[in-house]
Symmetry: C2
Subunit: 579 residues, 2 copies
């Protein structure tokens, strides 16, 4: 089989060696994941502002397509919290929730996002995701978790409320608070409390009772299903729906329908930026899960192929009544822990969910929305992690500023503005940091060939020679800074006859920096000072040789700083024996 | 006197030692510059879409204020071509040319730009200008020169035309071509031809005739004045104004008037971005001239103080009927060559221009606009320099792309879009370049303690140990790339037991990269592989010690790569004598 084909269809590599052991492992994993996914997909559809069945549909075909095109063996693709929130934020700016147009816009958003991911994969543009720094992602995820939890409070309280940032949400919640439905609130609070207890209390309890970690994990994951069953039964038995407890209501019994996204240029234009942000955030979340799980089995993830896999999954979602999807953390970990060996586990999960969509939907007629909200709140609060503030503060104030700004802006202005501002800020902070590089004036450590910072060490210097070591690559953001540094150093000391630039830390010199070096050389010539370079790295030297700079250089290029200092020193002595 | 006072008022440092020699030198320089500036300032006012006297006004008070606050001894501040073009582009989007509102908007633009420059100087934000890479500036200046020349063709041809990018201008010129005024065209073409000849033909001629470089320079600079005198006389003598040759007309005989910019928030809001771009471009142009001239006398320029000087000059312009100004290249060079010793030369120039504004304006009633256009065209064509394309192509394709994109976008979309796109592109290209750093797998050069790329040299390696040297600082844009590289390298070779990162080229590790290293360490642990570091630089090590990374590290940190390889090797041998 051609390697290119295997690259684009990873299924061909694992499919050929598929055997019975793998099959049974995959089936068990699929069963567990299916049970976990049913309430989760209903809940994330609610979060995205869509009818609950959309969550099931978004979990079926995308999983299968990812199994065909993706490279991770354990990644489970479907609706996830942050992407669902971003979907709701993107759509409700454009169309009204609950309308037909909203569902179509969701399909279009998934299709557009799929196309963007696919294009990034084919043109190997995955590096774009690298511009999201860890502080920005961490801040964004934490703030999103808070917004999501706040957005679900209305379902817990049984009131109306809306808003896409924390402030809007809180104001809206307070305004509608008098309309609170107490029965709904009791269901919601009990469900939330129970789910928290399952996470924090049940797990240690079961472990103390001697259950294995695997079984404990499975039981804990069935918590949401238990809550769904119990609260649905309660609503049905006590006729709570008549007391204004909002329920899911009738859900069509159907396999995922064939749907077509809108191709209206106006709509696609409005969705382009959100689709791009959703693609990038989804990709970053997914690849990080995939790589963590792959490392555990010493497997390799191909980021460009992952883009193709996620792209296919999203296009699949847009053609089958879904909304944007990506690889989810918790479901993938469950899948992995349950022993999934190949992407076939994903396909089996899809079959399980398809059966659920066909057969089980009448059973959730009386499922209260408050229960789904409780599922979401408990899931997303694990995303909220303020420790990043402390850790980044300890390590670097600039990175701390990026985290804080992203959290504050996301909470205050919503997800799109928050993540955009975070990216912009990290780039600016990076440029700022490298725009004023550390430049050390160095001298010879007596009796050695080593040169060290004159401010930190007792070293030998020569009044006619200044040696500067720049601890950064030279590029446009710091080129002019170097010009200024050298000019002011030389202007203040009339004895200087030679400037040596020790280039040992310079990994690159771009065209701006080259022109600055030419300028420095020229200006030093005007001041009757020679410019020398020492310890230029191979690739930098190769590049410099393509320009005129080396032939215009008033001084020389030395292999070592020691050579440079020796040679220049001798010359100075000869020319000016008195100096 | 307090050093702080001297920093903010550089006049205090040179003013105390001012003597008769300096005075006479400054007076001579001022006379020459005044003669050169009269037609130039009228012409640039025309380019900015303002009445000619605005050009004189913009040259008087700003020069004096710069003399007080600026640090360059020779810089001549006033209207310059590119800034005048940017002024016209900014204003004509907002108000109609020729209206009272247009002149007020020009004052506001100068005031806003002055405030921005002043703030940048006080808060030491001059580094912002560093984000304009040399390719972007070069491309922008070249494209601006072409647009300016094209915009002046209408005056040469005596027709109406408008537009702020090359395409609009060309279309408009072609549409109005039938209205061509032949007499204007003859004056314009002759004036342009004469001025070109003065530059290209007269200079060599005078030099061959044995005149000194200085005198030749002065005579050449009087060329524009000669053209002004001759064409004005011709229009007056032959009554050409009655034949539809457009003339400057009546200009008030007045010192610069006291004016007040508009403080309308709506107007200032619209002017903010253009004012910012004008400030940055003006500052970059000015500081580069100032530093080149300062180097010739081994003087020092303080960039933050320059911002204050230019800020004061622009605020001065806004209060005295002017428009945005900056330090001009040609006038400063003339000033320097003519022997200006101190900023007092600028003050004397201001006096000369004030006399011109008071006494000489009736003489330019019959001055044809075509003559001013000819002055501009000849001046700006020296800005057009396509050699930057060739030079950047030879040195770096990325920088070439930035130049080309800036030229094309400026010509196609105008100055603001062009320079913004150029800046964005250089930043993206820089991030892209550093996002995939060169990572070399290294091995020991036999018999030495040196380690070199396994692909380039015959070196010794150990199948259980992989040593990677990353030739770039680690930060968010390349952190994930490193994760992928290491994971795929280790996944494909099951014998690997140790990974050593040689950190000799790493100048910084930001928080994202720290978290990636933690992730790499964790994932390698899962694969039963140890991670070691070698040759970590001091500041990087200081930073790492603030985090938990070093205590979580599965391997060790070694001072030298040789140490690392020796130690790890021994351990491997002990642990697995068969391997």
């Amino acid at each position: 089989m051609s390697p290119a084909l295997i690259r684009f269809l990873p299924i061909l590599s694992w499919g050929r060696t598929y055997n019975r052991t793998a099959l049974s492992n995959d089936l068990v994993a699929a069963l567990i994941v299916t049970i976990m996914l049913i309430p989760q997909s209903l809940a994330y559809a609610l979060l995205a502002g869509l009818p609950p069945e959309a969550g099931l549909y978004a979990s079926i075909v995308p999983i299968v397509l990812y199994a065909v095109f993706g490279t991770s063996r354990a990644l489970a693709v479907g609706p996830v919290a942050v992407v669902s929130l971003m979907t709701a934020a993107a759509l409700s700016n454009i169309v009204e929730q609950g309308t037909m147009g909203y569902a179509v816009a969701a399909l279009s958003l998934a299709g557009l996002s799929g196309a963007i991911l696919l294009a990034m994969g084919l043109f190997r543009l995955g590096f774009v995701a690298n511009f999201l720094s860890h502080p920005v992602i961490a801040g964004f995820i934490t703030a999103s978790g808070i917004i999501i939890a706040a957005s679900q409070l209305k379902h817990i309280l049984g009131i109306d409320a809306s808003g896409h940032n924390l402030l809007e949400l809180v104001i809206s919640l307070v305004e509608h608070l008098p309309e609170i439905n107490w029965i709904t609130t009791i269901i919601g609070v009990l469900a939330t409390g129970f789910l928290f207890w399952v996470r924090k209390g049940l797990k240690p309890l079961l472990q103390r009772m001697g259950l294995g970690t695997g079984l404990t994990g499975v039981l804990v994951k069935t918590g949401p299903v238990a809550v769904v069953v119990v609260t649905t039964a309660a609503v049905w038995l006590f006729g709570l729906a008549d007391m204004d407890v909002k329920i899911v209501g009738s859900v069509p019994q159907s396999l995922p329908p064939l749907t077509l996204p809108s191709f209206s240029p106006a709509l696609l234009g409005q969705l382009l930026l959100p689709a791009f942000l959703i693609s990038i955030i989804g990709f970053v979340e997914s690849i990080s899960v995939a790589q963590t799980l792959a490392a555990k089995k010493r497997q390799r993830i191909d980021p460009d192929q992952e883009l193709i896999g996620l792209g296919a999954a999203n296009i699949g979602a847009s053609l089958t009544g879904g909304f944007p999807v990506t690889g989810g953390f918790s479901r993938s970990v469950v899948n992995f822990d349950a022993g999934a060996e190949t992407p076939a586990a994903g396909a089996f999960t899809a079959v399980g969910l398809a059966i659920a969509a066909l057969a089980l939907t009448p059973l959730i007629f009386f499922l209260p929305k408050a229960t789904l909200a409780a599922t979401i709140i408990v899931a997303v609060l694990s995303l909220v992690d303020f420790s990043i503030l402390k850790r980044s503060w300890a390590y670097s104030k600039a990175d701390f500023a990026a985290v804080l700004a992203t959290i504050v802006l996301t909470l205050a202005m919503g997800v799109e503005a928050g993540v955009s501002a975070g990216v912009l800020l990290s780039v600016l902070l990076h440029l700022y940091k490298t725009s004023k590089p550390h430049i050390a004036e160095v001298g010879q450590v007596p009796g050695t060939e080593h040169y060290r910072n004159v401010l930190r060490h007792e070293v030998l210097t020569d009044p006619a020679v200044v040696t500067l070591r720049v601890d950064e690559s030279l590029y446009f953001a710091n080129a002019r800074y170097l010009e200024e540094k050298i000019q002011s150093r030389v202007a203040k000391d009339k004895d200087i006859r030679h400037v040596i630039l020790q280039c040992s830390a310079i990994n690159e010199i771009d065209f701006s920096a080259l022109e600055s070096l030419e300028m420095i050389n020229e200006r030093l010539r005007e001041m009757n000072v020679k410019l020398h370079l020492s310890e230029v790295k191979g690739p930098v030297m190769d590049r410099l040789q393509k320009a005129h700079f080396l032939s215009d250089l008033t001084g020389r290029v030395f292999l070592s700083q020691f050579d440079a200092a020796q040679t220049v020193n001798r010359k100075t002595d000869l020319a000016a024996p008195a100096g």
